[in-house]
Amino acid sequence: MAIDPSQVPRFAHGSRVPGWDDSADLTKDPAVVPDPATTPVPDHVRVAIEAQMAKYPDVRSAAIPALHIVQREHGWCSPTAIEQAACVMRLTPAYLTALATFYDMFSTTPKGRHDVYVCTNISCSLLGADAVYEAMLSAAGDDPDFHVKAFECLGACDIAPMASVDGEYVGPLELEDCARIVEDVKAGREVLPDKQLRKRKAAG
């Protein structure tokens, strides 16, 4: 039984296959390297990116550090953020977008200011990480300041189940700690000072 391709419905982006990443707008011309004259870049962003570029024999190596800088500045890797990085680095926005969609720490959609990564990998999930993740989601609720994400192994299985709150590793987490994390972050305090990994002694 042959399949008539013309009978297969198309997706909204025009293709008959569902697609993996965000589709490109085929009606637009490809974006070129942004013109510095028409792309305003804040001075401190430019200085920070240029400092990174100076560290490497090939300036492209600074692409990931540059994306970290603009993501911090804009909250996410927005088209404007990527354009600014591309302008300073003299790369096309497409080059940087390809990177931003590849790496887990970059977000190409708007996200909350505070990153809460809950590790849900093997060691953590053996000790109840999935429940912690659910509790964290409900503790953060629909607060737009929080970006709660289930993350792959964060490299802290000794404090499983654990989470990284704006880069600070905390654990082992109980379900009720999730509400405390939200309170601490909102109040601008140190997060769970008694459970921070940096204060933990080595096992031996």
Partner: protein
């Protein structure tokens, strides 16, 4: 015996003063007074093997770097993302100067003038510690032009990644460091010949490089006396999962696994037994928790002989309260998420394995699917540019091998629970495997097989 974890919890160790007071950077001074060839010889004599996963002899790897004047690079792989591994984090955070010293000596031996520490982006605090230590080392003249009056010049950059397991693979790491997506490269050429920016590149794990000052202090021959004949030195073992005292323990290679799991980490929680354990991170084939395997010496060769591997030295314990299907599904989902998508067997194989395991979980699978799943794993191994796919295929394959009955019982139980009725007989279309005889298609009622 502790080489890397000596005074590890002393906060002073992370500072230049504290490290120097304990004899830090003395080995660098000594190395700079000898020829690079002599340092290389010490590393060869020591027999120290890579601590990152592959276990390749470090001295041999260094000797592959071409001699002569050219742009050579040393890259420290600190992209520790293997589930179950967390030793490098603790080492970098508490003893950063030993790593920096190891890098300088290593770079001197191979004649590299530019070095990088590629640290995963999630390790914010360890990266900050490294940055601070690097600034101190630079101010003290250990990093920069003409180090301590010698002819050796070295620059070191701490490069933060952005979250991708694949960047722990050495060629993917190089691509990421060059500012690209972390896709593995075709080998050969190996990085030792053509690596970063097309120059010869030595890539070593954090713990391996931290052993360089130790080898210099003891001398290669003396270092080789620690541990077993083919697995020399000490190893920081990360132990996690269902144990009472998870954490990093530095042990001499060849210590029995039982001593590490029960003696140091306290064994599984009260009243539980070990069902299975990953001896070397989630990429290693699992071993059952029987005496035969628990009494193995914990070293590279003994574990390889037992059908697993030491890998990054990360033990994950799964106790008898955990269904093995859940562990398999978690593992497979992780690799599906982290597959970079470049090679088909890995991209598709990880995806299909997850789908099949989900069917096992809900009871939609038949025992025959386990054979198909096992054959999918075999099709992945060795067929990709890097070993990410293999890293899923090996544990999943070993779980099916050791725990087949549990998978089958799980299917039956889930089938009953979800009201799917009795198992449907199927024609074994695939390779004949396991206790299921090939059915003659003529014996099967075709209308019954279609559900």
């Amino acid at each position: 015996m502790k080489q890397l974890f000596e005074n590890i919890d002393d906060p002073e160790l992370a500072t230049l003063d504290g490290y120097s007071r304990r004899g830090g950077y003395e080995m660098l001074r000594r190395a700079l007074q000898t020829e690079p060839q002599d340092v290389l010889q010490e590393m060869l004599d020591s027999g120290v093997r890579g601590r990152g996963g592959a276990g390749f002899a470090m001295g041999k790897k260094m000797s592959f770097i071409p001699k002569g004047t050219m742009d050579k690079y040393l890259v420290c792989n600190a992209d520790e993302s293997e589930p179950g591994a967390f030793k490098d984090r603790e080492l970098m955070q508490k003893n950063p100067h030993q790593l920096i010293e190891g890098i300088i000596i290593g770079a001197y031996a191979i004649g590299a003038n530019k070095s990088f520490i590629f640290i995963r982006g999630e390790y914010k605090y360890p990266a900050d510690v490294l940055d601070a230590a690097l600034a101190e080392a630079r101010a003290a003249g250990y990093i920069g032009e003409r180090i301590l009056g010698s002819d050796h010049t070295l620059d070191l950059v701490v490069h933060r990644g952005a979250g991708a397991y694949i960047c722990g693979e050495e060629t993917a790491l190089l691509d990421a460091l060059e500012g690209k997506r972390g896709n593995p490269r075709l080998k050969p050429p190996f990085p030792a010949v053509q690596g970063l920016y097309k120059g010869p590149t030595l890539i070593n794990n954090v713990e391996t490089l931290m052993n360089v000052p130790v080898v210099m202090r003891l001398g290669g021959a003396e270092y080789a006396k620690i541990g077993t004949e083919t697995s020399t030195g000490t190893k920081v073992v990360s132990i996690s999962g269902c144990v009472q005292r998870p954490g990093n323990y530095e042990v001499v290679l060849g210590t029995s696994a039982r001593k590490i799991i029960f003696g140091l980490a306290g064994g599984p929680p009260e009243g539980r037994t070990i069902k299975a354990w990953f001896p070397g991170g989630s990429s290693a084939p699992v071993l059952p928790g029987t005496d035969e395997y628990l009494d193995l010496p914990y070293d590279f060769d003994s574990l390889a002989k037992a059908g697993s591997m030491l890998g990054s030295g990360s033990i994950i314990i799964v106790d008898d309260s955990i269904p093995i299907v859940d562990v398999a599904l978690k593992t497979a989902k992780f690799y599906r998420h982290e597959s970079c998508g470049k090679c088909t067997p890995c991209r598709e194989g990880t995806n299909w394995t997850v789908k099949m395991l989900e069917r096992v979980r809900t009871g939609e699978a038949t025992p025959m699917d386990l054979d198909i799943m096992a054959s999918v794993q075999e099709q992945i191994i060795g067929n990709c540019l890097c070993v990410l796919g293999d890293s899923m295929a090996m544990p999943i394959g070993s779980m099916i091998k050791h725990f087949r009955e549990e998978f089958e019982a799980h299917i039956e139980a889930a089938r009953e629970q979800n009201g799917l009725g009795a198992a449907i007989p199927q024609v074994n279309r695939g390779r004949q495997a396991g206790p299921y005889p090939m059915l003659d298609p003529a014996d099967v009622d075709p209308t019954a097989a279609v559900a």
